[in-house]
C-alpha cells in the first residue's frame, strides 16, 4: 500500500493563522467564537467564529474578492511559508467549498439596483478555485469538490486516492468557506443556530455556531519526498466516503451512516478501531448530529478512545471544516493530546458517551480519526497516523 505523507500545512480560522497560533489557542482553551455584526443584511449580533485576515500578508489583497477566496489565499500564503512547494508533472490542487462566491453574490443580489454584475462572475466555486490556483501555480490541474460540510474532507480523501492509486506525486488539498448571510439565515431557518455558545455532545445542546476559515495540506508520495526534501508531519493512512441516504439534512439516529464511514476508513488504513488514540468528531452540537455520531462511536468499539468536537473553538466552518479539523487532528497526533471539548456540562442521556472535558494526554497516540458529515447524507472520515 503506497503511503501518503502530509508535509505542509496552511491554515487560517477564528483561532488565528498558522499552526502555531492554532496550537496556542487550543492549549489555552481559547474559543474564537464571539459576538459579530459584520454580515451585510443581518440585523443585530450573532455568535460566530470570524477569521482575521492580515491584509498586509496578502500581496494582492483585493477588497472586491469573495471572502471565501481571500481566506483561501491567506491559508495558501501560510502553506508556502511553511514548506517548499515545487509543482511538477503529477501535481494537482483540490479545493473544497460549500459557500463559494455566495458571500459576494448575496451582497449584489440584495441591492435594489441589481448590483455590480461583474461581481457575480465570482459566484461559481470553480472561479474561486482558479484564483487560488494562481497563487499556487497557474497551470495546475485542479478541481473543486462541493459536498456541503464534508467538502474539504473529500478533497483530502481524493488527494490520497490520487497519490495511492492514480500516479500523482503531490497534491495540495483542503478547502475554504466564509461566513455569509445565506448560511447564517439557512441554519437559522432550520432552527439549529444556537444563540449561545454551542455545546457539542451536551444533553442540552441547541445547535451550531457558524465559523469561517481555510486550510490546505500538502500531500506527497514517498518518491516525491526524495525530490522535495520535505519532512513528513504525518501520514494520511485511511479515508472513506459513505453516503447515509436517510434525509436531506439529518443523519440516521442509530448512527449507522457515521459508523459505516468510520469503519471503512479504519479498514482502508488497515487498522482496527482499538488502534485509535483520539477521535476528532464532527460534533456540530445539533441535536441530531451529536446523537447519531455518539451512537456510532459507541457502536464502533467497546471501549471508545477519547473523543471531542472542536467546533466550540472554531465555529462550524462548513466546507472548510474537514481540512481545519484535519490540521487539529495532526496537532493532536504531534502533541499526543485529545483536545478538550469546550462548554460541556451535562452528559447526553442517550447514548451516554462523554467527550473529553479537559485536555487529555494519550500515551503512544499513533492514529487519529476525523469525521466530517454534511447535508445530502455526505459522510466522510479521514485517518491520520504518525510517520
Amino acid at each position: 500500500m503506497k503511503p501518503v505523507f502530509v508535509t505542509g500545512i496552511g491554515i487560517t480560522c477564528a483561532l488565528g493563522t498558522g499552526t502555531s497560533s492554532i496550537l496556542e489557542a487550543l492549549l489555552s482553551k481559547r474559543t474564537g467564537i464571539s459576538n459579530l455584526t459584520r454580515i451585510n443584511g443581518l440585523h443585530g449580533e450573532f455568535l460566530g467564529g470570524a477569521a482575521e485576515l492580515d491584509e498586509n500578508s496578502l500581496h494582492n489583497f483585493d477588497p472586491t474578492l469573495s471572502r471565501t477566496t481571500s481566506l483561501a489565499l491567506e491559508a495558501v500564503a501560510d502553506l508556502k511559508r511553511s514548506v517548499a512547494f515545487m509543482p511538477t508533472e503529477g501535481t494537482a490542487f483540490l479545493n473544497g467549498s460549500s459557500v463559494g462566491g455566495m458571500d459576494t453574490t448575496e451582497v449584489e443580489y440584495l441591492k435594489v439596483d441589481g448590483g455590480d454584475w461583474q461581481q457575480y462572475l465570482q459566484h461559481p466555486i470553480g472561479a474561486g478555485t482558479d484564483t487560488i490556483c494562481m497563487a499556487l501555480s497557474p497551470g495546475l490541474e485542479r478541481t473543486s469538490i462541493s459536498t456541503a460540510c464534508s467538502s474539504s474532507a473529500n478533497s483530502i480523501m481524493q488527494a490520497g486516492r490520487m497519490i495511492r492509486y492514480g500516479g500523482y506525486h503531490q497534491v495540495v488539498a483542503g478547502g475554504t468557506d466564509a461566513l455569509s448571510l445565506f448560511t447564517i439565515r439557512g441554519f437559522d431557518s432550520l432552527m439549529i443556530y444556537d444563540a449561545e455558545h454551542c455545546s457539542p455532545f451536551d444533553e442540552d445542546r441547541a445547535g451550531l455556531n457558524l465559523g469561517e476559515g481555510a486550510a490546505y495540506l500538502l500531500l506527497e508520495s514517498e518518491e516525491n519526498l526524495k525530490i522535495s526534501g520535505n519532512k513528513p508531519l504525518a501520514k494520511l493512512s485511511g479515508w472513506a466516503n459513505a453516503n447515509d441516504p436517510y434525509h436531506q439534512t439529518a443523519s440516521r439516529p442509530d448512527g449507522s451512516g457515521a459508523l459505516a464511514s468510520m469503519q471503512q476508513a479504519i479498514q482502508c488504513a488497515q487498522l482496527s478501531a482499538e488502534n485509535l488514540g483520539y477521535i476528532n468528531a464532527h460534533g456540530t452540537a445539533t441535536p441530531n448530529n451529536d446523537l447519531s455520531e455518539a451512537t456510532a462511536i459507541k457502536r464502533l468499539v467497546e471501549a471508545p478512545p477519547p473523543f471531542s468536537s472542536t467546533k466550540a473553538y472554531t465555529g462550524h466552518t462548513l466546507g472548510a471544516a474537514g481540512a481545519i479539523e484535519a490540521v487539529i487532528s495532526i496537532l493532536a497526533l504531534q502533541q499526543c493530546m485529545a483536545w478538550c471539548n469546550l462548554n460541556h456540562s451535562t452528559a447526553m442521556e442517550d447514548p451516554g458517551l462523554v467527550p473529553v472535558k479537559e485536555h487529555t494526554a494519550v500515551n503512544d497516540m499513533q492514529h487519529v480519526l476525523s469525521n466530517s458529515f454534511g447535508f445530502g447524507g455526505s459522510n466522510s472520515t479521514l485517518v491520520f497516523s504518525k510517520v
Binding site: 440584495l110 497551470g139 439557512g186 447535508f375 447524507g377
Partner: protein, 290 residues
C-alpha cells in the same frame, strides 16, 4: 486490464428553437420515476438530474460522481429572495428552509442516493466548464481502484438571472441566445458496453489540435461550455455538439453522449470530445469502439 465502457446512459436536453434561435428543454414525463411530492419540491435541475440518474440504470451499489458548474440555481435564487427585507423594510421573520437545503451543490447526489438507498461514495465536482470531466476522471480513478460499476453524470440549469449577468457583463445578445441546460448520466462498467472510454484529460492552457494527443482520431466532436464569451475555437472537420444542446458548463456530458452515438451507430470507430471553456481551459475525452 483497464477496460472502462459506457454500459448505459440517459439524459434531458434542449433542442434549437427555430423561432427564438434559442434552446428549448425537452422534458420527459418525470412522473414515471419521481413522485408528485418530490416533483413539487424539486427545482428544474434536480428533476432533470434525478430522473436521468435513475433512467440510466444507477443501482444501490454504484458510487456516484456528479459534475455541476453552478449547482441548484433555482433553489439558490429562491432562498436569496427570501433574505430580502419584507415590505416593512425588516428582515422576514419566517424563512422556509427547503430552498436552502436544496441549494447545496450536492443536493442532487443526496437525492439520487435516497431514491436508490445507495450507501456508496458520493462526490460532486464543481469546476466551471470542466466540472463533468473532473467527475469523469474521479469515476475512472474509482474504477482503477477496482470498482466494477460507477455512475457519472452532470447537470446545469438555466435561470433568467444568467441572462442578466451576461447582459450586465457585456455579452452580445447572440451569445446569450446560445445558453442551454441539461442533464446527462452514464453507468460505466468494466468490460461491458459498446463504447470504451480510453482517456479523459483536462488542460489549463491553450490547445491547438487533437492529433497530438491521439493520432488515431477519426472524428472530433467539439463544443463550448463558457457562457458569455464569443472567442470561437475552430475544428472545421468536426461536429459542434454545443450547437445541438446549447451552452452550459457541463454540456460536454452531452458531447460524450453524442460521441457514444457516433460509435454505436457505426459512423466512427474513434472519437474525441473536445470541450473548450475559454481559450485556456479544455477537456478531452477519447472514445473508441472496443
Amino acid at each position: 486490464m483497464k477496460d472502462f465502457r459506457i454500459s448505459s446512459s440517459a439524459g434531458v436536453h434542449g433542442l434549437p428553437d427555430q423561432n427564438s434561435a434559442g434552446f428549448i428543454l425537452q422534458e420527459p414525463d418525470y412522473r414515471d420515476r419521481l413522485s408528485a411530492g418530490s416533483l413539487r419540491r424539486m427545482g428544474k435541475g434536480l428533476r432533470m438530474g434525478v430522473w436521468s440518474a435513475l433512467e440510466c440504470g444507477a443501482t444501490d451499489t454504484d458510487p456516484l460522481f456528479i459534475g455541476t458548474g453552478l449547482g441548484g440555481l433555482t433553489d439558490s435564487e429562491k432562498f436569496l429572495l427570501s433574505l430580502a427585507p419584507g415590505a416593512d423594510g425588516q428582515p422576514r421573520s419566517v424563512v422556509s428552509p427547503t430552498p436552502f437545503i436544496l441549494s447545496t451543490h450536492n443536493a442532487l447526489g443526496g437525492q439520487v442516493a435516497m431514491a436508490l438507498d445507495n450507501h456508496q461514495s458520493n462526490v460532486t465536482h464543481v469546476q466551471n466548464g470542466l466540472s463533468f470531466e473532473e467527475a469523469l476522471k474521479d469515476a475512472l480513478l474509482a474504477m482503477t481502484e477496482g470498482k466494477e460499476h460507477v455512475v457519472v453524470g452532470a447537470v446545469d440549469e438555466h435561470i433568467e438571472l444568467l441572462d442578466k449577468v451576461g447582459q450586465g457583463t457585456g455579452a452580445q445578445p447572440s451569445t446569450l441566445n446560445l445558453l442551454g441546460e441539461g442533464a446527462t448520466f452514464f453507468r460505466l462498467a468494466q468490460g461491458e458496453g459498446a463504447v470504451r472510454i480510453v482517456q479523459c484529460k483536462t488542460f489549463h492552457r491553450p490547445i491547438v489540435d487533437v492529433e497530438s494527443y491521439w493520432e488515431d482520431v477519426e472524428l472530433v466532436l467539439f463544443g463550448r461550455s463558457d457562457l458569455f464569451s464569443e472567442t470561437a475555437i475552430a475544428f472545421p472537420e468536426g461536429l459542434c455538439y454545443s450547437d445541438e444542446c446549447g451552452r452550459y458548463m457541463t454540456n460536454s456530458a452531452f458531447g460524450l453522449y453524442r460521441g457514444m452515438q457516433e460509435i454505436e451507430e457505426g459512423r466512427a470507430s474513434t472519437v474525441a470530445v473536445l470541450n473548450s471553456y475559454g481559450p485556456n481551459c479544455h477537456g478531452l475525452i477519447l472514445l473508441e469502439k472496443p
